[in-house]
């Protein structure tokens, strides 16, 4: 049976403290507008003959001449060869400018669904435009499963693999590590069937390729038998959870934790293999939780000591949830509340030191409230995988979609960089070719291969040109 326990509401001690707050300071804070300059949740206006595109959070926008949704590889090849420039889109969940184009955006989501599966070997072929949750559901029906999942499951396989999307687990690799082969439609319209045996260089480059080598239509994946997990969520002090984090990451199949800024408290989450009758997923109370954290900021943000004290009195301690279900119903979900995010992957040995510094920097600003997320991923060998030189600790910082995130770059990014961090390709970062050359031993090899496959820069946009050190004239 599943259990969940809601937090104790603001207690009498908290209320007594709250009524004693200095009115002037509260009044000044309560008049503060947290909205960032330039926030505009709408789509950009599209001139005649163009269409509007925006990423999930709204900070990347463009007006391409067309968003093509080809149904066949022939249609895709025709669209690619006929366009001056092309950018592929998955589900638009990248915060970086991977997708914007003023020419053609190609949506590969009609390359969708399970094509074939072999339960004995775990080898499947599946459309690259399949969204993760659909992939998990169809694999489940075939008795198979993905080895791990990220937080968000509305992304397409191609979008998530191509940005080195990951879950958490000390022994679990990022999603693309289980790619055995893929079909790639290149700038010239050729269709390439790529495996480690057929083309080892393109295989190493293509698994994490930012949509820069062409459009991937199909993957061959190594899956595992369908499995259930037992989920446990508990609340403890940040100090305790950080002290135990390395051990917990070794004890549990999946371990991660969240830190609630200005509370000194964190939530640990573990998932372990589970045999037996499952309890089912516990209903979400996410929006209430996030709303509570925001309200705490809005009302008591001016006094960090008070904010911390009220949070300490309001948050539960100990286990707050135990449940069990199929892995794909526990590990990830779509997110109803929009935000912007920076995530850097830090060498594991530097992870906790970096986290302390990031928390210190984040709490130097009184306006932050979104929980931070900390995960660990095992290494793989794709050329542009941030995890290809050893296990890394991923530290993610979020800002409400309508609030400032400029401090990600000015304050947080230098700390991540100083600790050897590599950025998530789909999350906010400012790095260009010069910095990336120093982070990835195979970067130049990737760039050379890209230039061979796409000599005219058909798959470039301004963001990719910055990453690759190419001139770009739109």
């Amino acid at each position: 049976m599943s259990t969940t326990r809601r937090a104790i509401l603001l207690g009498s001690a908290g209320l007594a403290t709250a009524v004693a707050i200095p009115g002037v300071q509260y009044a000044a804070w309560s008049m503060k507008d947290f909205t960032r300059d330039g926030y505009n949740p709408g789509l950009p206006p599209a001139p005649d003959g163009e269409v509007a595109w925006s990423n999930w959070s709204g900070i990347q926008q463009s007006t391409p001449k067309q968003i093509a949704v080809p149904a066949t590889e022939d249609e895709l090849a025709t669209a690619i060869t006929g366009a001056q420039r092309v950018r592929p889109v998955g589900s638009g969940h990248s915060f970086t400018g991977l997708v914007p184009s003023e020419h053609l955006i190609v949506d590969a989501s009609r390359f969708s669904g399970l094509v074939s599966s072999d339960a004995a070997t775990g080898i499947v072929t599946i459309g690259a435009g399949t969204r993760i949750r659909q992939a998990a559901r169809e694999l489940d029906a075939a008795g198979l499963a993905l080895q791990n999942l990220p937080d968000v499951d509305v992304q397409t396989l191609a979008g998530s693999f191509s940005t080195s999307t990951h879950g958490t687990g000390r022994t679990l690799q990022p999603l693309h590590a289980h790619v055995e082969g893929f079909r790639l439609v290149t700038a010239s319209g050729d269709v390439r069937d790529v495996t480690a045996a057929s083309d080892p260089a393109l295989f190493s480059a293509g698994r994490v390729s930012l949509g820069a080598l062409g459009v991937i239509t199909q993957y061959t994946l190594k899956c595992v038998p369908a499995y259930n997990l037992k989920r446990r969520v508990w609340v403890d002090t940040l100090d305790n959870i950080m002290d135990q984090a390395m051990a917990l990451s070794e004890q549990h199949r999946n371990f991660e934790f969240y830190y609630f800024p200005f509370t000194g408290m964190a939530a640990g989450i573990s998932h372990d293999m589970f045999e037996g009758e499952v309890s089912g997923r516990v209903s979400d109370e996410d929006e209430d939780t996030l709303s509570g954290l925001k309200d705490l900021r809005d009302i008591f943000g001016w006094a960090p000591w008070l904010r911390r004290r009220i949070a300490a009195g309001s948050l539960p301690h100990g286990v707050v949830e135990e449940s069990s279900d199929a892995y794909w119903k526990l590990l990830s979900t779509a997110r109803p509340t929009k935000f912007n995010e920076m995530e850097y992957h830090i060498p594991l040995e530097n992870g906790l030191t970096c986290l302390r510094a990031i928390i210190g920097a984040l709490e130097s600003r009184k306006d932050t409230f979104f929980p931070m997320e900390v995960r660990i991923t095992a290494p793989d060998d794709a050329w542009l995988s941030p995890f290809n030189d050893g296990p890394r600790m991923s530290i993610a910082t979020h800002a409400a979609v309508d609030e400032p995130y400029d401090y990600f770059f000015s304050v947080l990014e230098p700390i991540h960089r100083a600790h050897g961090g590599r950025p998530h390709w789909g999350k906010l970062h400012s790095l260009g070719k010069d910095e990336l050359m120093g982070l990835y031993p195979d970067y130049q090899t990737f760039l050379d291969l890209r230039a061979t496959l796409d000599p005219d820069g058909k798959f470039l946009n301004s963001h990719l040109a910055h990453l690759f050190g190419e001139d770009f004239d739109a």
Binding site: L9, L10, G42, S112, Y258, L296, P336
Partner: protein, 127 residues
């Protein structure tokens, strides 16, 4: 991400004295367990529509807790349709609403497709 810290902090006393949300909409109609379970299994009878539903709609409209009205949960759809009408709900798909992006992950869908999908999702589900 959000789901993972669910149920940890419910500062209702604080919320009670804070500002109301800037954007108000129809009251959320919480589905019961039967509707949550049913939404996971429903698919349109038409194979073409089912394929669109699978790749574009199902990840959110078959999962409780995201703010999206569940497929087959008419009680959640009715206030929306009464407030905005079918064409208004269609306009929400075009522009995006809440966590739903513009065109609801189906840039190639026609308005006819969207109307059929709205009708399917808003029709009370039968086990």
């Amino acid at each position: 991400m959000v789901r993972k810290f669910c149920g940890l902090l419910l500062l209702a006393s604080i919320s009670a004295c804070s500002q109301p949300p800037a954007e108000s909409g129809p009251a959320i109609v919480v589905p019961d367990a039967a509707h949550v379970s049913l939404a996971e299994t429903l698919v349109p009878a038409d194979p073409t529509l089912a394929a669109i539903y699978d790749r574009s709609c199902r990840a959110c409209h078959a999962l409780d807790g995201l703010g999206a009205p569940l497929s087959g949960h008419t009680a959640a759809w009715t206030p929306r349709l009464e407030e905005r009408g079918l064409e208004g709900v269609l306009a929400s798909v075009h522009t995006g609403r809440g966590a739903m992006p513009p065109m609801g992950y189906c840039p190639d869908c026609t308005d006819e497709d969207f109307r059929a999908l709205i009708e399917f999702m808003s029709t009370e589900g039968q086990p």
